[in-house]
């Protein structure tokens, strides 16, 4: 973990997938300035003790921000190392009080046609939605990121608050979250709805389960230049020791 060399701030903030602002890698950096991120409220509802609209400012006051340097692996077989600032999702969920029957957490991205040029075209079924099993959501590696390199997280990276689940493909780490719902059923997820054969609910980084479009055995490290050698992809993106226990006894090929 301490040998991870973070990517340059420019790489992390100029090379993004955020289809609400366009499908090109540079589109989010170009277009996301139009997103209003303050004020911002996050609705937390479903199976919680204290459902309601939580002001982002109040969340920030209640949480302790720390730095986490994580590998970030996109399903498109590129990767980065990102120094996030944020807090554990478990702490936020504790604030709302998770009820006993809750088994999953559903997340939703803002949908603002006036501020998001990409949603005029149905590249995906908007709004973007994602989900985790409750034990994944409560895992200490799972964070809500609110900053990068000690600065406020830029809009193109999912301001003001995004999920980061470092052992899963990047699209699970949903951006600009406006709603968190605790439920007892597996929630729908955007890429799974778009193409269930290619994107599963779990989407754990796994070099042995190849995607119909990309071999997942290796990856291009962003910032390596034109002639960089591909690097082998690690099981659970290098977090096997910490998270393999969550999936004990599960067939990871069937639950991709």
């Amino acid at each position: 973990q301490d040998t991870l060399e973070p990517n340059a701030y420019e790489d992390i903030t100029q090379y993004n997938n955020y289809y609400e602002f366009g499908t090109g890698k540079g589109d989010p950096a170009k277009n996301a300035h139009s997103l209003t991120t303050s004020p911002w409220t996050v609705k937390i509802d479903g199976l919680v003790d204290k459902p309601g609209d939580y002001a982002m400012a109040d969340i920030m006051d209640a949480m302790t921000i720390e730095e986490r340097i994580y590998r970030f692996r996109c399903v498109e077989a590129w990767s980065m190392v990102i120094p996030w600032n944020g807090f554990e999702l478990a702490d936020l969920l504790a604030m709302a009080g998770v009820q006993y029957e809750a088994k999953y957490v559903a997340f939703e991205t803002a949908l603002r046609p006036d501020e998001m040029p990409g949603v005029r075209f149905p590249a995906l079924d908007w709004p973007y939605v994602e989900g985790l099993r409750l034990d994944e959501a409560l895992h200490p590696l799972t964070i809500m990121a609110t900053g990068i390199y000690g600065k406020d997280i830029p809009n193109q990276n999912g301001a003001p608050m995004r999920l980061v689940v470092p052992w899963k493909y990047g699209f699970k780490s949903i951006k600009s979250i406006v709603r968190i719902t605790l439920t007892d059923k597996e929630p729908p997820t955007s890429w799974n709805k778009a193409n269930a054969r290619e994107y599963g609910f779990y989407s754990n980084v796994n070099p042995e389960v190849s995607h119909p479009r990309w071999s997942q055995a290796s990856e291009r490290m962003v910032g390596g230049g034109l002639f960089a050698k591909r690097q082998p992809t690690l099981m659970f993106n290098g977090y096997e020791e910490e998270v393999a226990g969550l999936y004990e006894g599960m067939d990871l090929k069937a639950n991709f």
């Binding site: 790489d11 100029q14 090379y15 075209f121 119909p212 479009r213 055995a217 291009r220 034109l226």
Partner: protein
């Protein structure tokens, strides 16, 4: 007006067209080397060559309808456009194989296992005999069979369009526009295609 365009076209030697339309190849490569294509330059370089190839194939398809409907005669450049398109397809393939996928085992695995790559590869294979026979000697030697052989372009360009639609994630507008243009240009000649 049209006469003047045709007269101008007659004066332009094909090597000038080759030269001008080849320039984006080294220029894009230079951009990729110097950071001008962003922090992950392999993919944008690969995609740019593929995109230019498709555009050149489409340009080639425009030549005969242009003559038929507007009497602008660019027939002399059609073979040039075809050879250029093949060149860019080959560059696209080389960047993909050498800089992106990198090992021969993975290249073969991708061609077999990933349908959009299989389709792209099929398009390349179809263009091979066309590139090899794009010279005066072959035209003379093959006679009427040359025209028939070169109708393979129609299949190759459709495969290229499908390859593009299939490789993007989600539903995206750009590849659909390319496909619509390709199908429209083929529709213009459907009667001749049936013959």
């Amino acid at each position: 007006m049209i006469d003047r365009i045709n007269a101008a076209a007659r004066r332009v030697p094909t090597w000038v067209v080759y030269l001008i339309l080849l320039l984006p190849a080294p220029y894009t490569f230079y951009l990729a080397l110097s950071g001008g294509l962003g922090p992950d330059p392999v993919k944008p370089l690969e995609h740019k060559y593929g995109e230019i190839a498709l555009q050149l194939l489409i340009a080639g398809l425009c030549v005969s309808p242009l003559r038929q409907y507007t009497h602008i005669n660019l027939i002399k450049f059609r073979r040039t456009l075809g050879v250029l398109a093949f060149t860019y397809v080959a560059l696209h393939l080389l960047v993909w194989a050498l800089l992106d996928v990198q090992t021969i085992g993975r290249v073969i695995e991708d061609i077999i296992k990933r349908p959009y790559i299989t389709i792209g590869m099929a398009g390349f294979v179809l263009l091979l005999p066309l590139a090899l026979t794009s010279n005066n000697w072959s035209v003379r030697r093959l006679g009427p069979r040359w025209r028939k052989l070169h109708k393979l372009t129609y299949i190759a360009v459709v495969l290229g369009g499908v390859h593009f639609i299939w490789l993007v994630k989600g539903i995206q507008l750009e590849p659909l526009i390319y496909m619509a243009v390709i199908l429209a240009l083929l529709a213009l000649r459907y009667k001749r295609l049936l013959r």
